[in-house]
Symmetry: C3
Subunit: 518 residues, 3 copies
C-alpha cells in the first residue's frame, strides 16, 4: 500500500509541478490557528423538495483552508435545479442514488431520443441533451468551475450530498466568496447570506434571484424568441421564494437514460435493479447500461455514444445503438472525446478494493487524479476511511494539501498539532461534523465507535501524506543513529522505536482494548 502512496508522490514529482495545487494563499495570520473546532452546518434553507445546509465560509478555519462546505438533502423525486459555481467542486454522495447532469459548453448533445414515428420520419428526435449520469452512495462527483450541474433523486431513500467548493482555486478569478449562479427560481443562493452587508444592501423588487432575473424582459424575449409568459417563468417572477433550489417533481422525472428495458426512465422503480447492475453488466456486455463504470471503460478505449452531424451511412441505419453508447467510428477528431466524454464520478466507498486494508483495524481508499482524471481540472482529491473500535490512524500530516475531514458514521477522538508543538484540537468528531486539518499540521485519531467512517476532501489532486510513525514513516526512514541523537536515546531504544509499529497508517487496537471492546 505504501506503494500506492509512493506512486502518487513520485508521479506528482515526475510530472514536475503536477502536484501544485495552484491556490490562493490565505491572508496574513489566517492560519495561525490555536483552536480548531468540529463544526456543524450553521445555516439551513428548506425548500420544496429538500434542504440545503451550509457552513459559514467566513469561519477562520474555512478561510485558512480556502474552501466552502455545504450539504444538500433531496427527498424522493426532488430535483436540484441547474446552477454553476465560481470554483471547482467535489461532491460526495453520503447517502442515496440518483441522476446528475452537467453542461459542458460546446459539447454535442449525445443523448437523442427517437420519436415513436422515427422509422418513417428518419432522423428527428423528441429530445436531445448532453449525457446523464447515474450516481450511487459513496460516489465522488467532480464538477468543474462554471459548468452547469443538476441532480435528481429517483429513489425512496433521501439523497445526502456533501459538497466542497475550492474557492481559493485559481479557476476562480473572483474573490473567495462562494457563488452559486442558479438558472431558475426565486430563492437566494445559499452563500449570499455570508456576503458583506455591502453586497446585499440593494434588494430588488420581487423579480426572482436567478441568472435570468436580472435581464430586462424585452432582452430575453428577443434573445430567445419566446413570449412573455415563458420569460416570466425563466425569470422566476412571482414564484414563491419558499419553493427554493430543490423542487419536487410531481410524477417524477422522465428522460432518456441507457437502460434497455426502460427506454424512458420512470419514477423510482429501479432500486432493486441498481443493486445487481454490476453482475448484470458482466452478463450482457453488449448493453452498455452504465457507460461510466470502470469495467466498461477498461474493455473499450473510451468509446461513448455521441452522434454528430457527419455520421456515416452505417450509423444512420442503426440509430438506436447510439442512444445507448454503442460502437463508434474511428473518424473522431480526438478533442471532443476528452472532456465531452470524460468520466465525472468515481466510487470511493472503502468496502470495495481499498488502498489500505488491515482487517483488525480498518480500511482506507483514496480517489486522486490517477483514479479519476477529471480531478486534474479541479485540483482536488478525496480519501475515505473506516476504522474499527479503538483502531487508530497514526500521527501523520498532509504534505501538499489541506484536509477537510467530514465524519460519516460513528465518532472518533482526534488530535491535531501545529508547528509550535501545540495541541490545537483534542476532541471528538461525530457523524455530520467537519474538521479542517491545515497543511502540514499533524493529526491522529482513534475510533470510539464500532465503525467510524469519514471522507476527507483534499485541496490537491495528488494529495500525499507523511506518516510520522510506523512502517515507511519518517521515523523508519531516518538512520538509527540519527534517531538516537535526535531524541536523546540509546541506540537500542532508537532501534525499538523504529521497529515497534509494523503497521502502515492504520493501527489495530492493543490487545487489552480488544478484550475490553469485546
Amino acid at each position: 500500500m505504501a506503494k500506492l502512496l509512493a506512486l502518487s508522490l513520485s508521479l506528482c514529482f515526475l510530472l514536475f509541478g503536477g502536484c501544485f495545487a495552484f491556490r490562493e494563499q490565505p491572508q496574513q495570520n489566517e492560519c495561525q490557528l490555536e483552536h480548531l473546532n468540529a463544526l456543524e452546518p450553521d445555516n439551513r434553507i428548506e425548500s420544496e423538495g429538500g434542504l440545503i445546509e451550509t457552513w459559514n465560509p467566513n469561519n477562520r478555519q474555512f478561510r485558512c483552508a480556502g474552501v466552502a462546505l455545504s450539504r444538500a438533502t433531496l427527498q424522493r423525486n426532488a430535483l436540484r435545479r441547474p446552477f454553476y459555481t465560481n470554483a471547482p467542486q467535489e461532491i460526495f454522495i453520503q447517502q442515496g442514488n440518483g441522476y446528475f447532469g452537467m453542461v459542458f459548453p460546446g459539447c454535442p448533445e449525445t443523448f437523442m431520443e427517437p420519436r415513436e414515428s422515427e422509422q418513417r420520419e428518419g432522423r428527428r428526435f423528441r429530445d436531445s441533451h448532453q449525457k446523464v449520469n447515474r450516481f450511487r452512495e459513496g460516489d465522488i462527483i467532480a464538477v468543474p468551475t462554471g459548468v452547469v450541474f443538476w441532480m435528481y433523486n429517483d429513489q425512496d431513500t433521501p439523497v445526502i450530498a456533501v459538497s466542497l467548493i475550492d474557492t481559493s482555486s485559481f479557476q476562480n478569478q473572483l474573490d473567495q466568496m462562494p457563488r452559486r449562479f442558479y438558472l431558475a427560481g426565486n430563492q437566494e443562493q445559499e452563500f449570499l447570506q455570508y456576503q458583506q452587508q455591502e453586497g446585499r444592501k440593494e434588494e430588488q423588487e420581487n423579480e426572482g434571484n436567478n441568472i435570468f432575473s436580472g435581464f430586462r424582459r424585452d432582452f430575453l424575449e428577443d434573445a430567445l424568441n419566446v413570449n412573455r409568459h415563458i420569460v416570466d417563468k425563466l425569470q422566476g417572477r412571482d414564484e414563491d421564494e419558499e419553493k427554493g433550489a430543490i423542487v419536487k417533481v410531481k410524477g417524477g422525472l422522465s428522460f432518456i437514460s441507457p437502460s434497455e428495458k426502460q427506454p424512458r426512465h420512470q419514477r423510482g422503480s429501479r432500486q432493486e435493479e441498481d443493486e445487481d447492475e454490476d453482475e448484470d453488466e458482466k452478463r450482457q456486455p453488449h448493453r452498455h447500461s452504465r457507460q461510466d463504470e470502470d469495467e466498461d471503460e477498461k474493455r473499450r478505449p473510451r468509446r461513448h455514444s455521441r452522434q454528430d452531424e457527419d455520421e456515416d451511412e452505417e450509423e444512420k441505419r442503426q440509430p438506436r445503438r447510439h442512444s445507448r453508447g454503442g460502437s463508434r467510428s474511428q473518424r473522431d477528431n480526438g478533442f471532443e472525446e476528452t472532456i465531452c466524454t470524460a468520466r465525472l464520478h468515481q466510487n470511493i466507498d472503502s468496502s470495495s478494493s481499498p488502498d489500505i486494508y488491515i482487517p483488525q483495524a480498518g480500511r482506507i481508499k483514496t480517489v486522486t487524479s490517477f483514479d479519476l482524471p477529471a480531478l486534474r481540472w479541479l485540483k482536488l482529491s478525496a480519501e475515505h476511511g473506516s476504522l474499527h473500535k479503538n483502531a487508530m490512524f497514526v500521527p501523520h500530516y498532509n504534505l501538499n494539501a489541506n484536509s477537510i475531514l467530514y465524519a460519516l458514521k460513528g465518532r472518533a477522538r482526534l488530535q491535531v498539532v501545529n508547528c509550535n508543538g501545540n495541541n490545537v484540537f483534542d476532541g471528538e468528531l461525530e457523524a455530520g461534523r467537519a474538521l479542517i486539518v491545515p497543511q502540514n499540521f499533524a493529526v491522529a485519531a482513534k475510533s470510539m465507535s464500532d465503525r467510524f467512517s469519514y471522507v476527507a476532501f483534499k485541496t490537491n489532486d495528488r494529495a500525499a501524506i507523511g506518516k510520522l510513525v510506523g512502517a515507511t514513516s519518517s521515523l523508519s526512514s531516518i538512520p538509527e543513529d540519527v534517531i538516537a541523537a535526535t531524541f536523546n536515546m540509546e541506540r537500542n531504544e532508537a532501534r525499538k522505536l523504529k521497529s515497534s509499529n509494523p503497521f502502515t497508517f492504520l493501527v489495530p487496537p492493543r490487545e487489552s482494548e480488544n478484550k475490553a471492546a469485546a
Copy 2:
C-alpha cells in the same frame, strides 16, 4: 462554430489544467459589485509625438478583474520609446499601421544590415538588431512580462493602441500596481500617479525618470565605457519632461525591414503597398517580405531568418538572403527557434475568416493560444465582435476568465447580471469606453448602431463561454423534462424553449425591428 468553442474548451481540458490562468485572486469582497460602469480613461498625458490615456487601476472594477488598461495615440513618425512592464500585456491596434520591436534577452540579433562595402570587407555590418515586425489595424500584439517593447508609426493615420496589462498574472511577482520601466526620457511612467502617496513622496532632483536615471554617472560610464555626454542622454538629464514617452522623429525612422524594393524603409511611403501585400507575397513566394504572416508560416515550418556565429560557407556566400528570412540550415539547436522566432501578433479583425458569422446579425472572431501560441506565455486571449443594428449576442457568461469589453465603433445596450440575480449594469457602451464583465457574470447586448464593434480582452489564453440560451446552450443541453421541472413549465413549453432560438451566440433582429431599422 460551436465546434470552435468546443474545441477550445476540450483541448483546454485535454491538457489538464492548461486552461488555468494562474492569476492572483482579488482581495476579499472586491468582486461583490452591485454597479458596474462603462468607463472612459480618466487621465491623459500629452507628449511630443502623441498621447497616453489611462484608466484608474484602483477603480474597483479593475481591482476585481486584476488588470490595467491604457490607450496610446501615435502621430505620424512618432516613436513610443522602449519600455518593459511588470506583467504580461495584450495590445490591440484600434487604428493605423506601423512597426514594433521587442527585445528577448539572449536571442540573437538576426536583422543584419550589410555595409555598402560588404563585398570587399566580408562579414561586417552597419547595424544589427533583433527582429522588427509590421503591425496593422486589428492586430493583437502579445508582449511578455519584462520584455522591452517599442513601436513606431510610419503612416499618416494616427496609430491608436489599446493595451491591457494583466497585473494579477503570476508572472508579476510584485504587487498589483502596473509598472512601466522606461529605458529613456524624463517623463513619469503613466501609472505612477495612481500609486499611494508613500510611493511618490520622494521626488528626486531633475535627473530623469527612466531606468538609467537612478544610477550614478560614474557607474554608467564604467559599465558602458562611454563618456559623460552620452550618459547624460541615457539618463534623460535636462530633457524636457514634456517630450514624454512618445517622441517625434524628425525625418522619420530608418531601419532594416524585409522589403526588397526598399532595403531601408523610408518614412511613410508604403501605405499603398501594404494594402496589396498579400497578393504580392503570393506572386513572389521567394521574397518572404512578411515573415510573420499566416500564409507564410503554413507553407514553411517556422524557418525564419537568423544568423548566428556558426553559419556555414554556403550561407556566407549569400549573406543578403539572411536579412530577409531565406532558407535555413538544419543545424539549429531547436531552442532558439522557439521564442526568438515566435510570432507575436495576429489579426483579429472579424472581417476576414470570422469564427461565428450570421450575415443578418454579425460576426465574432477570437484569438486564443491556439491561434497565437505566444498567448500561452501571457495567459490572455481576445475576442472581436461586430453586430448589426438590433442584433444581439445572447445571455452568456465567461466560464474561466474575466472579460474587459472595449467598444470600437457605434454603441450597444448591455446588461450584466451577478450571482444574486441582480442587474449590475443596464446601459450603453459607446466607442472608446470599457466595461468589465467579471467571470461567471451573465451578459447580453443589443447593437444600437448600424455597426457596433468591440474587442474583449480575456484573462485566460483559452477563454471559454457558456451560452445560456440558443443552440448548444445550457438550455438546449438539459433534458426537456428537467427544463420543465426547473422552470415550472409544461413539457411542450420546455420543448418550445429549447428550440425557439436556432442561432448560436448571435441573434439577428426580429422582423419588426428589421423593418423599423429599414
Copy 3:
C-alpha cells in the same frame, strides 16, 4: 555564455508557462519600496551544537519578495534535528562539509546495513533508512515542501548553511508565515517569534515544542506501541530548552554511507579523502562511493541502489552490492526512480565550470532546473558570482524573478533603481548581509574587494535576466535609428553606444582603475 541565458529563456518559453513561478503576489503597495537596506540577521538562537540566525520575514523587503531567510551554523559533530517546512527551501552551503538526509514519504529505505551474522541469517539488517547524501561547500540543496530534512557536520570546520524559504510558493497553502515543524526537541521553532501575538499567547506547560509534543501520551503509546519512557523522549518532555534545534553528538554519528573502506562512517576522518574523491571515483568506477555526483550519473542512466520486497534470486545472492548502489535489474516500475532517486544538490561554486568567465573581471555560475531538475519542484534557482576589484556587473534586471543577494566574501557597491527611475539603494553590500532586488528593478554592482563573491537566490526555477547594456543587451538589440531617436542622439553616437561595451554581463575594471588597484 549569452547562449546559456538564451537557452534558459527559450526553453522556458518553449515549455509554455514552464517559466511561471506560481507564487502568491505581495499585498497592495508592498513593493512600492523607496529604500532598500542591506540587512543582517536580526535574531540569534544558540543551541547545544550551533546557532540559528534569522532575518525578520515581516520586514517589508522580505514581504515584497515573499521569502524568509535564515542561517544555521553547525559545530563539529553537530546534528540539525529533523524538521519539515511549509514551503520549498533552497539551502546554500557557505562553508564546510557534511551529510544530509531527507524523507520522501512512500520511498523505500534503500540504505540497508547487513548484520555481522548476515551470511547465516539471510536477509536481516541492523538498520535501513532512506538515502544519505554528502554535501560540500558551495552546494545548493533543494528541500521540497513538507519533506523531513536533517543535516550533520562530521568535520572540524563549522558548517554554515544559508536557507531561503519561499513562503509565497503555492506549495504553501497556509499563510505566508514560515513554519518549521520539528520532529524533536523542546525549542521554539525559529520563526515563531515573528508571528502575531495572537498566535503565541497560549503557552503550554513544559511539554516540548515539537510535532509529537501536542499529542496525548496514550495516543502515542498506542500508535507506536512503545512505553511511556520512549514517548517522553519523543515529546521532548523535561528536555532543556537550551539544547535547541542543533544538538551535539557525543562521539559523532555513525550510519551507513557508500564508502568501501569505511563501511560505517566514523567521526571526522574523511576530510582528505573528500578532496580527491573525484579522481578516486574515476579510477574505481565500481565503487560508486558518491552516487550523487554528476560524473556518476552521466555514466549510468540513474540506477541507484534500491531494494524492495520483490527482488529476485540473483539479487539475493549478492546482497552487499545493493547497499552501495550497484547494478539494478530492469524491472523497475519507473515511478519510484524519479523522486526517490532524484539528485537533490548541485555545486554552484563558480570556480569550476562557470557560465560566464572573463578573467579580468570574474565569473558567474547559475543553477537552474536544467542543471538540477529537483528545482522544478521548488520553482527556485540560484546564481553564484565572483568579481575582481573594480570589476562590475552591468545594469540589468531580473525578468521573471525576485533576487535575494547574499554576500559571501568581500564587499561591493550596489545600486538599485525602481520603475520611477528612483535610486532605491546606493550602498555597500558586505559579507554576511542580504539585499533584496525585486523583479524588474534595475541593479548594478562594482566590487570593492579583491574578490567579492555572492550567491543570489531567485524565485523562479528558470530565472532570466535582461541586460540593459553591453553585448546582447537591450541597447544592442534595438535598431540604431531607434536608439538615436529614443535617446535624442546623433546616429554615430547611437552606433558608439551600441558597440562601446563588448562584454557580456561582467565588465573588467577600466585601465586607470587597474593601475590604481595594482
